[in-house]
């Protein structure tokens, strides 16, 4: 009996791995073709869409912050360097226990105002609002703690412009990023959200919104994450974008039509993955009501963000992300293989459920089955090793293509030495790192985390003087 079960499990995993490989082959190939086309367009038509910058749509940049006193000044200062004519910065201090509010008030000379907020979407009580009257208006909203989604809702209620961007308090935007994500709104009236490309800033020196130096990270954990980010942002997101099926715009950087966010009731308070939740809600709402819409991904709109440098922080982050994904998918299971929801229901949603969400369970179950099969004498070791090697080779090629695409599109973002090191780590990541990440993500199935703000150890972004002498 046990032998029969194990046999069929083996067959199942064999087929699943094959399908998994096919899916990644398709996404990688689609992304490559799309990015090649995108690159040509960018190269020959990379001029601004409008002659007069004043004609761009004004944007409110929302920065939700919780205990961000170390990085918040850098973040706001970097936002002041954006090449965009009309925008405001709204920092939402979600009941921080540190001096986030005071450092902002002191640094930017903010004054308390009695600005009324129209409660278009639900949020916890706003305690007070501070503002300055500079050309780029900075607004600080102090509110009772309610989580990141709640903070973003407060930002939506208080911001003035028809488009709002949300960025993480530890992120820095490249100076042209807002212009790039705003252009799809000019190109198509149906655009409701545009996501940017997130890159790791731990060993990059950014000055006035421009990368001035790229150093090779010393910590393997950073290199592994760099490869992962490239795979996600230059392969799967690009491929899903081609069918208007992106179910996530990273919370680190995205631009949204305010009216569309209000249509879906804003961010869902209490959820962990608020960034995915709002996009899934938008797909569900617009598809259900048959309203034409477009959710777009702009690979050249860069946002630099800090990645965890410790395994414990990485573990918590991955677990949170997976929990968030589970919540968003779980609350919209009615879209799963539902043709009424078009490509989202039939392709994107099943892709996320079958090849993103349940993968960690299957990976761990697969390992257990292999061990069992070995002891039951059901494992053809030669076949197993061969299959595994081919599969790993395939995964490595997928990673290498992502690296190549990055070099192809952003030749200045990496050096040949960094690329060589990333190639080596693309090979090494199959030996431990991937399994570690699967285990972290598996934790999401054990119990939901109540903390709505990820605990991330903050360090100040690197500046020229921090640079190690040898690099």
């Amino acid at each position: 009996m046990l032998e029969t079960i194990v046999y069929y499990l083996n067959v199942f995993f064999f087929v699943y791995m094959f399908l998994y490989a096919l899916v990644f082959f398709t996404t990688t190939l689609t992304a490559s073709l799309r990015l090649d086309d995108f690159f040509v367009r960018k190269r020959y038509m990379s001029y601004a869409m409008l002659s007069n910058d004043r004609n761009y749509i004004p944007v409110s940049i929302l920065v939700p912050a919780f205990n961000e006193e170390i990085t918040i000044i850098d973040t706001v200062e970097s936002l002041l360097n954006l090449k965009y004519t009309e925008y405001e910065i709204v920092v939402i201090n979600d009941g921080s226990e540190d001096n986030t509010s005071q450092v902002l008030i002191d640094r930017f000379g903010l004054k308390q105002v009695a600005r009324p907020a129209r409660l278009s979407v639900p949020c916890n009580e706003i305690i007070n609002v501070y503002e300055n009257m500079d050309k780029v208006r900075i607004t600080l909203v102090n509110k009772k703690n309610g989580g990141k989604a709640d903070a973003l809702n407060a930002g939506i209620n208080i911001c003035r412009f028809p488009l709002f961007a949300c960025i993480d308090a530890d992120s820095m935007l490249q100076d042209d990023s807002i212009r790039i994500v705003a252009e799809p709104f000019l190109e198509n009236d149906d655009t409701i959200a545009v996501g940017g490309n997130i890159k790791i800033s731990n060993d990059v020196i950014i000055e006035n919104g421009q990368v001035v130096e790229t150093n090779i990270p010393k910590k393997p954990i950073i290199l592994f994450q760099m490869i992962e980010y490239l795979r996600v942002f230059l392969a799967s997101r690009v491929a899903l974008n081609s069918i208007n099926g992106n179910l996530i715009i990273s919370g680190a950087f995205g631009l949204y039509k305010k009216a569309a966010a209000i249509n879906v009731g804003g961010y869902t308070p209490g959820v962990i993955g608020e960034d995915m939740e709002i996009i899934v809600k938008m797909h569900a709402f617009y598809r259900k009501n048959k309203i034409p819409y477009m959710i777009y991904y702009a690979p050249d709109a860069i946002c630099w963000t800090q990645a965890p440098e410790k395994l414990s922080v990485l573990r918590r982050q991955r677990r949170r992300w997976h929990e968030g994904m589970g919540q968003s998918l779980g609350s919209h299971m009615f879209m799963f293989f539902n043709p009424h929801y078009g490509t989202v229901g039939t392709v994107a949603f099943p892709y996320f459920v079958l090849f993103e969400y349940i993968t960690p369970i299957l990976e761990v179950a697969g390992i257990v089955t292999i061990v069992l099969s070995y002891f039951l004498g059901l494992l053809n070791v030669q076949f197993f090793i061969m299959y595994l090697l081919i599969y790993m080779g395939f995964s490595m090629i997928v990673s290498l293509i992502s690296l190549l695409l990055d070099r192809y599109i952003f030749p200045t973002h990496s050096t040949p030495r960094l690329t060589a090191k990333l190639v080596l780590f693309a090979f090494l990541e199959s030996f431990g790192y991937r399994q570690f990440c699967s285990l972290c993500r598996l934790g999401a199935f054990i119990g939901f985390n109540k903390n709505q703000w990820g605990k991330m150890e903050r360090t100040q972004n690197r500046k020229r003087e921090d640079q190690p002498e040898e690099s």
């Binding site: 490989a21 490559s32 038509m45 002659s51 004609n55 190109e187 198509n188 395939f394």
Partner: protein, 418 residues
Amino acid sequence: MTVNLVYIVFIGLIAVLAIVSIYFISDMVARRREGKKVDALTQELRSVFARFLPDEGEPHQDPEKAGWVIRYKEKHPHYTPERKQPGQVDAFFRKQHSGADYDDDIRQLKKQVMTKAGLQAFNTCYSEYVLAHGYTEKARDFAGMVIDYRVLQKNKVVRDKYRTSYILYLLAEYRIYTPEVEEFALRSLNDKSLYVRGNALRVIKNTGDIPLMAYAFETINKSEHYYNDKVLIDFLDSFAGDLDSLDDELIKLFDSMQEELRVLLITHFTNRRNNNPVILDKMLECMEDEDMEVVIAATKYFGWMYDKRAHDLILQNLGNEQWEIRAQSARVAQRGYGSPQMIDRLECLLGDGNWFVRMNSAYSFINMVEDEARINAVLEGGDRYAREITMYVMFDRGKMDYDRYTQMMEKEAERSLA
């Protein structure tokens, strides 16, 4: 059998991905080589540019363009654009050219721009010149002498999908306007590609040709393709010719336009603060239009362009059933339209059912009323909404400090609880 099939499929997938990788690597190598070639050609071309367009120190003024506008004004309305004949341009540059090898240079340039790298190099030098000197008539004539529409059509500088758009972009940058180019640009306004349409607009606005702009606007009016409002505003705002004359022409087309384009034209006139009497009269008509957006746009216009004839219309619109019109009218009321009737009406609107109407009315009311007793009467009156919005606006306008404002709000809260 199945296992072997899976192996074969896997190997096939890996092979396809390997081919993709090889494509990207070879393209990067080719690009690097091409980049070097373009750099070398650019270096050569810089000296040729210097011979034809010597650096004259100060940014070059554009007397021809001013002359062009004058000529247009003289000949209006039966205007036909005057273009320099190739012979005139040639003679001009022959005179300017310091070297004896003028014919060789021109021949060489024409040959170079036929190639992909040559065109890129020419484009780089031209952009450098424009960056340093601005768009000059000389640069335009020079580009027109070397490059023509047919040369660009034949050049395979970019893949077919983007060629039309890129050609239009270059034509716009080089300011090459022949009847053939103008026809091409107008035709492209109905192209299905957004980028082609966008660059066609760029060509047309850079011509500085008013009848062409007007014709383009009529084409857009009839077109079923999407044109973003901001793009069209930009199209009008950055017109390279005389904007006043363009507005004169556009106002003639106003009545034949769809609502969206009428709103857009009003926005354009507002942005330009154009108070030409014909436009003013038309805007007064718009204040009574059936379309709400047109009325709102016209009201905004009178917020910037004071005209006493607008007073009664604003007062009338303060009683409009659409809250958007009431709110906009209340907002512009403070821009010089103060009168006892206006103040009375605004005071009534402090208790309007819509928050935006109340807020805009309060701003105008506080701005117009000098009698503190009248404001205090509102603050102590029986309408809670009127009291709250007046307090907020007084605080925002600096007529009440934060402590007093919060005190009053607390009192207001106690009052509502009681």
